[in-house]
């Protein structure tokens, strides 16, 4: 198979970090905070590399949009088995306002330029939880798109004669779907368990190429149509009250004017 897969990877604040809102309430604190690859993107990379190991695709290209630091994320994808990387340079104010619409335009342009047959993305990013990029990219390219729904297990992704075959667990058993290539697939949590990057692969990844591209080169305008007005912490959880009997519960609810 001569298929080429494009995998989008996003650099996000590490899932284990306690997020803090900036004092000026324009966003969250990112300086000096640990960042890593979005967990859904790791699953996407793993799926792409598995397809390559099954010899169903020829080349896996990892793409990320952002400032210089995203190269670390691309390198992690390379260490997991991607063949080469593309770094779309977006920095400063543009990076702060970069959202699914601009990213999907970039991915669509790259897919055409690189003649990709398949795009695999994470279902959503853990920082904005948008769950939009996959769908928008498919729409811009007019390609079919499949995302395993929440709570279902896409147990297998395969390529058979120019079609993408996806096997999913559903309540009644297993569902097999075939969609035409080229297509966009978004990866959910239980699709696979991402591999560790082994030390020898990390060393080999240094020799793999990461190309630099600007959004303008792809004819994409990254200006945002959205403006963030303010960012606030969620309201503090109030302590609850325990009661002994149902009678007490009803009494308390009446007191609080709820019933």
């Amino acid at each position: 198979m001569s298929a080429r897969v494009l995998v989008g990877v996003k650099r996000v604040i590490d899932y284990a970090v306690k997020i803090r809102v900036k004092p000026d309430r324009t966003g969250v604190v990112t300086d000096g905070v640990k960042h890593s690859m979005n967990p859904f993107c790791e699953i996407a990379v793993e799926e792409a590399v598995k397809l390559k190991e099954k010899k169903l695709v020829k080349e896996v290209v990892a793409v990320s949009c952002g400032p210089q630091q995203v190269q670390e994320t691309i390198r992690t994808a390379l260490a997991m088995g991607a063949d080469r990387g593309i770094h779309v340079e977006v920095s400063g104010k543009d990076y702060e306002t970069l959202g699914p619409l601009q990213v999907s335009k970039i991915l669509a342009a790259l897919a055409k330029k690189e003649q990709a047959d398949l795009i695999i993305l994470g279902k959503q990013a853990i920082d904005d939880d948008c769950n939009q990029t996959g769908q928008m990219t498919a729409a811009l390219l007019d390609w079919p798109q499949r995302s395993p729904e929440d709570g279902t297990f896409a147990s297998e992704v395969n390529i058979e004669a120019d079609k993408l075959k996806v096997v999913r667990e559903i309540d009644g058993g297993l569902e097999t779907i075939k969609i035409n290539l080229p297509a966009v697939v978004t990866a959910d949590l239980r699709l696979n368990t991402p591999r560790y990057a082994t030390l020898p692969n990390i060393m080999k990844a240094k020799k793999k190429k990461i190309a630099n591209v600007k959004p303008a080169d792809l004819g994409v305008d990254v200006s945002s149509r959205l403006e963030v007005l303010k960012v606030d912490e969620p309201p503090q959880r109030q302590a609850g009250v325990k009661v002994e009997t149902v009678h007490d519960l009803v009494g308390k609810l009446k007191e609080a004017g709820r019933i």
Binding site: E72, R75, A197, L199, P200, I202
Partner: protein
């Protein structure tokens, strides 16, 4: 042996280049770049950290209770490339410098020092071959370690001679094209699991012959007839590590397995330590770091007299002192590792690092138990294991007392110049 890239960060910007030139002219200048690891070093550290915290930490308590050899964990570490880092690239290894290896060691030791010692014993056994082996020996004995997850061991200590290496009695007598070895070794880590051993034996029977000429280093295949590993010893700590006595009864070793030549053994055995003491210090630091983290987490959960115990100065001061010790131990082993990677003799720094790290590991583990209070004494909580595991760091790889001998000798030697 050169390192691969542990200080390539120096070329990145001009101020670093200037400092590097300054270092050439002023060797006493404190070495630079303690604060910033290269991207590759950070990535290696990340893999080791993830593996240790996700796979070693949960499995360690049961291996400690059963004493079973943690082969599944060792195999996994081997698959990830976390083992055998020093093996040169032409033998299928990664040719890592001591600095990079230490970073990995500290992370694994955080998980469990029993598992980490089993892995580290490989490096100790391999080091004489790496520094003194000829091409054929390296390809044969190091090559096989990268093809399968095999273990090896460093066979020097005897029941009657530990610190006094020159007092070992195992005899190797040349007979034609072979050496016949007889003797008894003790406390050999990986003794029962090794595929091959580095063996130090006395080849010159004359008691007046100086140590620097009387001993020879050999590579011995573990399945050679006459090699008899004893029972697995039941130790205080690091209980998953396999430690045994080994009897050598008329063991025949071909002359091709002699390292360098007859009489060169002592220097090889001691030379290996300069490269293996920094990683042992790193292991002790990893244990101390674990003690600090467990104690800190507990201190922020447990309340007494109306506050978290971390808010009482007695406890926060204990934590502060633990933090001081961990940071300093880390800097010490990094310095020792960096010095040897630069191609310089690092005996002074290696001994300081090992002595200090061994001592503070014990102190931090005991302090962690103290912070946990009654819970700390109990096997349901992780810190009593740390205290039992820490003790050996003041004993193996050169006792705390031997390190002080070495440091004083090096220090006085510098003064007399």
């Amino acid at each position: 042996m050169t390192s691969a890239g542990s200080y390539c960060c120096l070329e990145r910007s001009s101020w670093r280049l200037q400092l590097w030139y300054a270092l050439l002219h002023h060797p006493s200048t404190l070495f630079l770049n303690l604060t910033e690891l290269t991207d590759q070093q950070k990535e290696f550290q990340e893999v080791a950290r993830k593996f240790a915290r996700e796979e070693i930490v949960p499995a360690a308590p049961s291996y400690d209770r059963s004493g079973e050899y943690p082969f599944p964990l060792i195999k996994r570490a081997w698959e990830l490339g976390l083992m055998n880092g020093h093996i040169p690239e032409d033998c299928g290894g990664m040719g890592l410098g001591i600095f990079d290896a230490c970073l990995i060691t500290e992370e694994l030791a955080f998980g469990c020092t029993g598992v980490q010692t089993a892995i580290e014993a490989n490096s100790l056994g391999q080091m004489p071959v790496i520094i003194a082996g000829n091409d054929a020996q390296k390809k044969k004995y190091l090559g096989r370690m990268t093809e399968e997850p095999l273990m090896c061991a460093y066979c020097v200590t005897e029941p009657g001679a530990g610190s006094d290496v020159a007092g070992i009695k195992t005899r190797a007598v040349k007979k034609g094209d072979e050496y016949v070895v007889n003797g008894q070794k003790m406390w050999i880590t990986n003794g029962g699991k090794a595929n091959w051993y580095f063996l130090l034996a006395r080849t010159d029977p004359d008691p007046k012959c100086p140590a620097s000429k009387a001993f020879t280093g050999f590579i011995v295949e573990a399945d050679t007839p006459g090699v008899q590993p004893g029972r697995k010893e039941l130790n205080m700590g690091q209980r998953s590590s396999d430690t045994r006595g080994i009897t050598f009864e008329d063991v025949k070793i071909p002359k091709e397995n002699v390292l360098i030549g007859e009489g060169a053994g002592f220097k090889i055995a001691m030379g290996a330590f300069d490269k293996t003491r920094p990683p042992v210090a790193a292991g002790a630091t990893g244990l101390a770091q674990r003690a600090l983290e467990e104690a800190t987490k507990y201190a922020l959960e447990r309340k007494t007299f109306g506050k978290f115990i971390a808010e009482h100065q007695a406890v926060s001061f204990l934590l502060a002192e633990m933090a001081m010790k961990v940071e300093l131990a880390r800097m010490a082993y990094q310095r020792a590792a960096w010095e040897v990677d630069q191609g310089r003799r690092n005996t002074y720094y290696a001994s300081i690092a090992k002595a200090f790290a061994g001592d503070i590991a014990n102190q931090c583990a005991a302090d962690a138990v103290q912070i946990f209070g009654g819970n700390g004494f109990n096997s349901e909580y992780p810190v009593e294991k740390l205290m039992r595991d820490a003790k050996i760091y003041q004993i193996y790889e050169g006792t705390a007392q031997i390190q002080r001998l070495i440091i004083s000798r090096e220090h006085l030697g510098k003064f007399k110049q």
